[in-house]
Symmetry: C2
Subunit: 176 residues, 2 copies
């Protein structure tokens, strides 16, 4: 949802905008700030300042964008990973390993999906699948069958693709 979808309910359109955090907020301390076309620039500025005062790094967007910056990058990335898995090109650990080694990343796409939670990943893929043809429908069906229906919903419940609190991708030797 972007601010202009909700602003009519606010009663104070010029003082309305969105402030959005990432997970976990204390480590990934970005504060994405998205105004709508009629947000007062002084209010936008005040929220940027407020974010800094909270110890966050402000990410002020110039305009409305579905998914803000982070999820506009994350969604096509995670969908591409699910596509490789569902197509049987490689298993999830091999895909994560490829990304982690090549990007010096602490976590691969399937570790990310577990952290976000399988339910959210499923809802997003299902939503995309409803709007367009393509691989999202198969990704959604895969997540439903293997994770949603079996209760393996990610980090929060102790199991998703990986088992927590000590997922295989954090084990010594995973990247070898």
């Amino acid at each position: 949802m972007v601010p202009s979808q909700l602003v009519a309910y606010s009663g104070r359109p010029e003082r309305f905008l969105h402030l959005h955090f990432a997970t976990p907020v204390w480590r990934h301390n970005i504060a994405e700030i998205m105004p709508h076309p009629h947000t007062d620039p002084a209010v936008f500025q005040a929220v940027i300042t407020f974010s800094r005062q909270m110890g966050m790094v402000p990410i002020p967007l110039n305009k409305e964008q579905s998914g803000y910056v982070l999820n506009a990058l994350n969604v096509p990335f995670l969908l591409a990973a699910l596509e490789l898995l569902v197509d049987g090109v490689a298993d999830y650990q091999l895909i994560d390993k490829t990304w982690m080694i090549s990007k010096d990343a602490k976590c691969g796409p399937f570790g990310s999906i577990d952290l976000i939670g399988i339910t959210t990943a499923y809802n997003i893929t299902r939503n995309i699948a409803e709007q367009s043809k393509g691989s999202a429908a198969r990704a959604a069906a895969y997540l439903k069958e293997h994770f949603i229906d079996t209760g393996k919903l990610g980090v929060d419940v102790g199991e998703g693709f990986y088992r927590y609190p000590n997922p295989a991708y954090m084990a010594p030797g995973f990247l070898t």
Copy 2:
């Protein structure tokens, strides 16, 4: 290109497959190994072993996949970043910062594009644009106007989105 596009020229189809490295090879030491449907499994196995002997981490694919694993993830991810930039949602440093903080990553999408080289990024977006409608055409036009035509081709020439050898995204304080 996948092996089955080239195998006819090899004269030894059952001994033919692709072995593909990442950049820079000594740090991002993956070896993606892609057989075609008629590659001898013993040859596939031998190349996996050979990759380990070279100090690489083998990434054996179960089947042919355009872009292997890494670029099948990379391309939609980088295209999404270019879309945000071209749409004017945020500037390239803000987009990189968002990704780097949220993913504990050492480099964001535009740092990656510089490393890959703008020429390659441009050729890929142009190629996708020719095959489909959508944002790739605008991304290609953007790269051509601002980088290809101005000679700012990435790390190799000392300038792309960032200037090298000390790009802004590596400076202390970038993630603040």
